[in-house]
Symmetry: C2
Subunit: 152 residues, 2 copies
Amino acid sequence: MEHKVERLLVNYKTLEEFKKFKEYGLQELSMLDDLEANIIENDSESPFYGIYFADKLVARMSLYKRNARFDKYFEPKQDFLVLWKLEVLPDFQKKGLGTSLVAFAKAFGLPIKTNPRVQSHEFWKNMGFKPAEYDMERDFGENPLLWHPAGL
Amino acid sequence: MEHKVERLLVNYKTLEEFKKFKEYGLQELSMLDDLEANIIENDSESPFYGIYFADKLVARMSLYKRNARFDKYFEPKQDFLVLWKLEVLPDFQKKGLGTSLVAFAKAFGLPIKTNPRVQSHEFWKNMGFKPAEYDMERDFGENPLLWHPAGL
């Protein structure tokens, strides 16, 4: 089944919905601050993409394109996407929503780097992601996983 | 109560004990690979520090000094410590072991940056750590917390 992935707008409704996700943190608090202080406008585009079910946000991820000069993961250095905070609310798991979000990210045709916070190796393996070679000065506590359109 | 904090040596015993910790990941697997391939020697020093109870590792953290040129957190740029994978095994929590590890890290007299993976705001607040101002291109999914010997 195809799920419609939408770019999320920064507004009080979105930020309220974010509170249902486990990985609510400094990023969301900073968006709220910026909205309240009029540093960003209501309904500005956010780095988040999500899937709605009956007007309720049930899955989300953050996605950001980095320039090749910041690439420490791929050879040769190239533009790539950082994907983080991929999360599906518990009642909506096992329906392919996470897969739809990753498929959406892959469709940009760029390599992707993520660092899953939860134990989800099987999911990412099924998505074709592979562990990077661990580099302490780059990774510290991260477990970076990589995907490349042309294969790794 | 004071707990003795020891630098952990890389050997099969240590790496086996690491499996009891939730944040076992690429870093530990890479240490195991390096040991097996003789890239590092048995009993080499590791970036991990820990506390033993009756010969059993019950708490640990990783600690690494970064040069000021990599500093994106403090003003002016300065040498600082990255602290990650602070974790106390469930049966040994609420005994001050986490506090002892953080006190050990602070004793180096350098500012510290950490990115706790679990909800532990109260602990880090009690330790004097404060959230960094969120910067998407630096932090992505991180919630960086900072401590400075001279106060932030």
